[in-house]
Amino acid sequence: MGEVIVITSGKGGVGKTTTTANIGTGLAQLEKKVILIDTDIGLRNLDVVMGLENRIVYNLVDVIEGNCRLKQAIIRDRRYPNLYLIPSAQTKDKTAVNPEQMKKLTEALKEEFDYILLDCPAGIEQGFLNAIAGATRAIVVTTPEVSAIRDADRVIGLLESAEMESIQLIINRIRIDMVRRGDMMSMEDVKEILAVELLGIVPDDEEIVISTNRGEPLTGGDSPAGIAYSNICKRLLGYEVPFLTFENKTGLLAKVSGLFKR
């Protein structure tokens, strides 16, 4: 039986979709059978980041409304034999789907996939409730900014009330040079405030922009963010991987040998 994981944040623009794409790719590289679902109905974009936009025929709403069979809406990523995507609809809105229907869908997918990753829309309304309905595990993405932290705190509260079995945190776009100067919250600061288990930290890396533009997730590559995402995937599978520390030597983020345990 597969596991259903929702990737959420409250605030928009912190990197939920990029995180979903990269974790999905990373888990597929680790030979898991993975399906990504874009639950952001009306604002479809996971397919763009995955570079699969031109393959869409049917979408999530078509499946829910019975316009097509489930299999017909699933797009296989040709780069990885076990990575799949159900895209979102562009023309409908969040009310086209309800939590019960999402639960039924994820239940059906559990039979066939090891991991079902749900890319949650920003906000805490219907779209959020749809996305978390079938999930037993949540990954909260935040950046080290006060507004993102505040929203993450709110969302963690809602996930706790919804009795989510596991809630883990990813801190995205951390800039070690700014943390050193005291101009940005550190990993310790964020962890202390939000008081949930840390799944990973992803450094601010221009390679992410390049990878998104190309429609090719960078997990598994040797860029700092690529390494960070690979580590996150291993931790998701239960391996103990120490957190990376990044040192700013030549103005670039460079991996150093000093690794700290949690």
Binding site: R150, G157, E160, E188, E192, I193, A195
Partner: protein, 226 residues
């Protein structure tokens, strides 16, 4: 047409505003049906009632009280007199009782109170965890936070100006005790979030000279609190 009876709740119970002209029997039926309408709300409640708007004979008062007791699930503890002297003393007794309730009993809450969450208590409350910015505690009694208080705390919410708020680390946005509001220090959002990392310094907030005063907890200090 004027309503035969209007129910108004106050701190002490329910005030019935009665129509002056209606024949008594009709009025009685109207009162009962009014209570029936809101039976769910009043279910098994212990309340004190009072009458205004119409002069009632002792006999009429008794009939109303009996009818309510017999035909609804409400327990009437007492009828408050409109006699001011008497009313004042009853109100005082009720207040003393409520105050004692608020101060001498309490509840525990375990876990982090996060942004958007509100904890309300009829008594005093002890939070074992942090109260993050955006979260709020409202208690009729005292509030003790065994963690960092970064949100809003409202103690003595029923008007008890002797209530206090204590925390292992004080970093609140606002503290309100009875009717007095104190705002936290002006800090940048980043400083505010980070403030909590600094060394623990247990503090207590209480009303002093009509303002919220914040003081570091010292030995024996609580002897001044009730």
């Amino acid at each position: 047409m004027e309503q035969p009876v209007i129910l108004k709740s106050n701190k002490y119970g329910i005030n019935l505003i009665l129509n002056e002209e209606l024949p008594f029997e009709e009025l009685l039926t109207a009162i009962i049906s009014k209570f029936h309408e809101s039976d769910k709300f009043f279910k098994n409640a212990n309340i004190a009632i009072s009458f205004t708007g119409r002069h009632l004979s002792t006999e009429e008062e008794i009939r109303i009280v009996d009818a309510i007791t017999e035909q609804t699930s409400i327990h009437i503890i007492c009828v408050l007199d409109t006699d001011e002297q008497k009313e004042l003393s009853v109100k005082e007794q009720i207040e003393a009782f409520l105050k004692q309730q608020e101060e001498s009993t309490g509840q525990f809450y375990r876990g982090t109170l996060r942004s958007g969450q509100i904890l309300e208590s009829e008594t005093s409350v002890v939070v074992i965890g942090d109260v993050n910015a955006g979260a709020k505690i409202v208690a009729k009694g005292n509030i003790v936070v065994l963690g960092s208080l970064g949100g809003n705390a409202y103690a003595g919410a029923a008007g008890n100006a002797d209530a206090f708020v204590a925390a292992l680390h004080m970093n609140p946005l606002q503290i309100k005790i009875a009717d007095v509001i104190g705002t936290g220090q002006d800090k940048s959002p980043l400083e505010r979030l980070r403030g909590r990392k600094k060394q623990l310094e247990p503090q207590v907030a209480y009303i002093k000279d009509e303002a919220i005063c914040l003081e570091t907890l010292k030995d024996g200090m609580f002897e001044n609190f009730y």
